[in-house]
Amino acid sequence: MITLKVNGQEHPVDADPEMPLLWALRDVLGLTGTKYGCGEALCGACTVHVDGQAMRSCVLPIRRAAGHAITTIEGLSPAGDHPLQKAWVELAVPQCGFCQVGQIMSAAALLRATPKPSDEQIDRSLAGNICRCGTYTRIRAAIRVAAGIDAPAEKAL
């Protein structure tokens, strides 16, 4: 039995220690906010935080996540009002939306480490999050709004 601490709550999980965290989150715990994209750590859709660091949950075995603080999109801000989430709504960032949870989780990890990132820093930190709709310019604009670099009206696209 492995105990996973997700969004501040402890969950005993009876599963293979090699099970990727994404499977435990979605199929065992029912937290379906985190998405399955490629299953090979190449697209970023499954990004969650482990002790504040962005991790690809599709390749992270639960044996390695046990005992660490896991944060998913459901726990990023209990009321859904994280500055990034608000900026995402204000700028209507998503198109189909499938990758956006991973984008927001990567952006949140970036802003925690670098509160006022340059465009180059944004691009480097989000380089592992693919968006097939091509919303990259709005993603970058929303991160700048959430970081307080730009006011929302200036950057409405």
Partner: protein, 210 residues
Amino acid sequence: MGHASRSLRFLAVAAVAAVLPTNRKAAVAADSAGLSAPAAFAGIADRSARSQALFGEVTRVLLHPRCLNCHPADDTPRQGDSAWRHDPPVARGTDDHGVPAMQCAACHQDRNLTHARVPGAPDWHLAPRSMAWMGRSAGEICAQLKDPQRNGGKTLEQIHRHTAEDALVAWGWEPGAGRTKAPGTQEEFAALVRAWIDTGAVCPPQEGAR
């Protein structure tokens, strides 16, 4: 129309095929022959020349893609036997472990992943810039390997221990997912380093230095 145009068409098809990403694995044949044991160098009477020859054999491991790809002279690790740039695009960061949200360990686990094919070993990260090997001659690499200012403050004994026991070094011989292994074994590699140190750790001449 005739033989000449058919040949040209064939050449055009071959040229396109040569640049297709699926063919890039075949572009370079990595050195995977076994390593010579230190005894094979016993016939070199001159101790200094023997030491240099031993280091030459050591560089067959150092310059193998499994080792070289994470010793770049810039901020981008390489992949595969042709050393193409890491995809997805990642950056060294301030501590050689990546940048926020793109840390090496965000994807690379403590062991190879069979299903996703992501390579892994404990503390996956880039070698520091001062330990870059890419584009450098054996003589240059040897000089920086011995220089405590550039080798992380290591003595020759600590370098030997690093080559013999480090888990990330060991990955070169267990790279998983059908990747070409570094030549020989880690034990044989460490024995060569031992023999090189014991013969005075002499560096090859720095010809071709730039």
